[in-house]
C-alpha cells in the first residue's frame, strides 16, 4: 500500500475508527461506563470532537468531548476524569458521619464536568442544594465539610 502524508501521522500510527465502535469506555478510576456507539468529528473533518456512548441496553446516550478522553485505542477508551453524572444516587454524609440524603441531581457549569451544586433528597429533610464549596470529598459517598449546616428533619415542612 502506498502512503501520501505530510506533517501528519503515518498510516501505521493511526486507528481504524470502525474498530472503536462498540469498545468499552472506562472512567479514570476504572469504572466501566458504557460502550461507544458513535465517534463525532468536527465540520473541518480534521479531529475527533468526542464520542457518544450508550450506558447499558436501555441506558441513556452520553456525549464526552475529546478533552475528556485520555486514551483511545481499539482495546478500550479511558477518560481522564470521573463523570459527575455517576454521582446520582450516592449517599451524602455530613462531617459528623450522619447520612442526610442521596443525590437526586447534579447541577454542572454548562455541559462541562465541573459541579456547581448537588441536589440532595431525603424523606425527612426534603430536597435541598449542597454547593460544591461545602463538599469535602467525592467518592462512594459524598462527605461534607464541617461548615455545612444540614436542613433539620421535619415531617411537615418537606419541599
Amino acid at each position: 500500500m502506498e502512503e501520501v502524508f505530510e506533517k501528519t501521522k503515518s498510516f501505521e500510527q493511526t486507528i481504524n475508527l470502525r474498530r472503536i465502535i462498540g469498545v468499552k469506555v472506562l472512567t479514570e478510576r476504572g469504572f466501566s461506563i458504557g460502550r461507544v456507539v458513535q465517534l463525532r468529528i468536527g465540520p473541518n473533518m480534521k479531529n475527533i470532537e468526542g464520542i457518544l456512548i450508550k450506558r447499558g441496553i436501555f441506558g441513556p446516550l452520553v456525549f464526552f468531548g475529546a478533552t475528556y478522553l485520555d486514551k483511545l485505542t481499539p482495546e478500550g477508551i479511558v477518560l481522564n476524569m470521573e463523570p459527575a453524572i455517576l454521582l446520582r444516587g450516592r449517599k451524602v454524609v455530613t462531617y459528623d458521619g450522619e447520612v442526610i440524603g442521596s443525590i437526586r441531581e447534579i447541577v454542572r457549569f454548562g455541559g462541562t464536568n465541573d459541579i456547581k451544586n448537588l441536589v440532595v433528597h431525603s424523606f425527612l429533610r426534603g430536597t435541598f442544594n449542597v454547593p460544591i464549596a461545602e463538599i469535602k470529598s467525592l467518592g462512594k459517598s459524598i462527605i461534607l465539610k464541617n461548615t455545612y449546616n444540614a436542613p433539620k428533619k421535619s415531617l411537615w415542612r418537606r419541599s
Binding site: 468499552k24 472506562l26 472512567t27 479514570e28 478510576r29 476504572g30 469504572f31 466501566s32 486514551k71 485505542t73 482495546e75 478500550g76 477508551i77 479511558v78 449517599k91 454524609v93 455530613t94 462531617y95 459528623d96 458521619g97 450522619e98 470529598s137 467525592l138 467518592g139 462512594k140 459517598s141 459524598i142 462527605i143
Partner: protein
C-alpha cells in the same frame, strides 16, 4: 444518680466505648465498611489500639489499627485509608484499557495496608499472573496498570 468522677486530666473531651461500638465505619473513599464490633485496648499503654469492624452477615471481620483511624465523629468513624481487602474481585486493566483479569488475592506488606503484589485470575482455566505493586498506576473502582497486557508474564 450522678456519677462520681475521679480523673487526672483530659477526660472532658473523650468518648466512651458505648459511643464507639455499633458506629458505622467509613473509609477514605466514602464507602461504608460496616459497624464497630470491638475496641482493642493496649494493656500496657492503657489506650485504644484499634477496632474490629463487623462487615455483615457471614462476612469475616476486619481489624483496623488506630493509626488508620482519621477521627471518631458523632455518627461514624472515618478511616484514613481504603482497606485493600476491597481489591478482591476488582477488574485489572492495562494502560490502554484492555481487561487483564480479576484480582483473586492482594498480597500485603506484613499487616500493613500497603500492597506488595496482586494475584490476578486471567481466565476461568486457572491462568494467573502476579503483578508487582510498582506496575499499578491507580486503584479506584478497578485497577489500572502502567504497562500493556503484552508486557506481562502469564503462568
Amino acid at each position: 444518680m450522678p456519677l462520681k468522677r475521679v480523673f487526672g486530666e483530659g477526660l472532658n473531651n473523650t468518648v466512651t466505648s458505648d459511643d464507639v461500638l455499633g458506629k458505622e465505619v467509613i473509609d477514605s473513599e466514602g464507602e461504608f465498611l460496616g459497624v464497630v464490633e470491638m475496641l482493642h485496648l493496649d494493656p500496657n499503654l492503657v489506650e485504644v489500639a484499634g477496632i474490629t469492624i463487623d462487615k455483615g452477615f457471614l462476612k469475616s471481620g476486619l481489624v483496623i489499627g488506630k493509626d488508620y483511624i482519621e477521627r471518631i465523629a458523632p455518627h461514624a468513624i472515618f478511616l484514613k485509608i481504603r482497606p485493600f481487602f476491597k481489591l478482591k474481585g476488582m477488574i485489572v486493566f492495562d494502560s490502554v484499557g484492555e481487561k487483564i483479569g480479576v484480582v483473586s488475592k492482594a498480597v500485603l506488606q506484613e499487616n500493613k495496608n500497603q500492597i506488595e503484589s496482586l494475584l490476578v485470575n486471567v481466565s476461568s482455566l486457572g491462568r494467573e499472573v502476579l503483578i508487582p505493586a510498582d506496575l499499578i498506576k491507580s486503584i479506584g473502582e478497578n485497577v489500572f496498570l502502567i504497562t500493556e497486557k503484552d508486557n506481562l508474564k502469564f503462568n
